[in-house]
Amino acid sequence: MSELSVNHLLGIKYLNKEDIKLIFETADHFKEVINRPIKKVPSLRDITIANLFFENSTRTKLSFELAQKRLSADVINFSSAQSSVKKGETLIDTVNNILSMKVDMVVMRHPNPGAGVFLSKHVSASIVNAGDGAHEHPTQALLDSYSIREKLGNVKGKKVVIVGDILHSRVALSNIFALQLQGAEVMVCGPKTLIPKYIDKLGVKVETNLRKALNWCDVANMLRVQNERMDISYFPTTREYTQQFGVNKALLDSLDKEITIMHPGPINRGVEITSDVADSSQSIILDQVQNGVAVRMAVIYLLASKIKQ
């Protein structure tokens, strides 16, 4: 088996096509493992992983922790709310203190874009970026592509529209890189105020009419409106946003084909997506969550195999 071309997973833009293929093939094996009566393998019993969350997270943190435990790694958790960060400690100091306790790998979420890249240059552990500001969220993009591959057989040649708050979304950027690397066509759709200027330079289509976007695509990835990151008003009201960019069953039924609906969670039910769509057979939202564990196991396993003893 070939190995990953990188020692850290900092973003999709640092990966190549073969890396993604290797991660998916490895995730296939782990998906089988997590559906066994005993869902655990002993591969990483001599590895210690620190999960450093400088920003809130429920799903991603749980998913990473479960992935680590199913590989038998030792896990320590840290969230900035209860830490010395509040007392003024710098990021490098915090991490070096943790590493001096013999930690092999760091999974980090941080509000500042580039925090992972910065850390990887200053500490010896292998770094996995679990979201850095509005920059990248590579494991989410990997599990999204993995879920598309599982549902539609292949990512290559598929048309994927990312709908919603593109401006504040690390999921959008990582997804654009991942999908393009695998030969999919990508469109972004949302209010003009939430689409970054010059995003078309990345080679994505831009559309402000949701119906047109849905008619074009095979898969729609619905993003959450990130109210917590919005310092100004980007659209008049939530109700108006929902009317223009929310997906409901009537809209889906009026299309002349059946498209696949994805959502990285957490869902604002009734805002970007209605309950009947989220719970319909077209939605693969819960498959995404299950695949998240398998994909993260694959990433951690492959990175761990590159850590020298």
Binding site: E25, H29, E32, R36, I38, A304, K308
Partner: protein, 184 residues
């Protein structure tokens, strides 16, 4: 030939492999009769060809019905993760039945250090608690064990010095049934 770095010697030819497979099948029948509570597990990657072949002989020549056959991959259970130069390559595990209280026969082509079997013994626990586990190997490399593991059924026992390699070929993949001793 002079100049050849590698030389190889035939240990078993196609006819001999075939005779041994039938003998092993008969030994299995002697112990497991109609295979009502017995399952065959081929160990990935190389044991599955032997397992397939034995299952085929048992059902076609000896009319054993409904043989349960699975494949077990032991990659994530190996004890040499991060110790070798090459990354470990995983294969598919396919066990579509419960092994709880079953009699299991592990099937592998060559038994060498015994470490794969150790890993397989751990791996199979993820699928339940079997009643009994036996081991069948086509080639048993004597005097090379690192662990106290011995086969219950062996095709041929060979004495091989450590820098020699035993290669088992199967028609399905290598176009012939044969076993070679390869000197490095």
């Amino acid at each position: 030939m002079f100049g050849n770095i590698m030389s190889q010697k035939v240990l078993l030819n196609e006819k001999e492999v075939n005779i041994i497979l039938h003998r092993l099948a008969c030994q299995l029948i002697e112990k497991h009769h109609k295979f009502q509570n017995t399952v065959l597990i081929g160990l990935q990657p190389r044991g599955v060809f032997l397992a397939d072949r034995l299952a085929k002989i048992l059902s076609e020549h000896y009319k054993i019905k409904n043989i349960q056959l699975g494949y077990l991959d032991i990659t994530f259970f190996r004890d040499d993760f991060r110790r070798g130069d090459k990354p470990l390559e995983a294969n598919k595990t396919k066990i579509n039945f419960i092994v709880e209280d079953k009699n299991i026969v592990f099937i592998d082509d060559v038994l060498y250090t015994g470490r794969s079997i150790r890993a397989a013994l751990t791996a199979i626990q993820s699928f339940g608690r079997p009643n009994e586990i036996e081991l069948l190997t086509l080639i048993d490399r004597r005097f090379s064990r690192h662990l106290p593991i011995q086969p219950n059924y062996r095709g041929r026992q060979v004495d091989v010095i450590n820098d020699e390699k035993v290669r088992v070929n199967w028609k399905e993949r290598d176009k012939e049934d044969s076993v070679y001793l390869i000197e490095k």
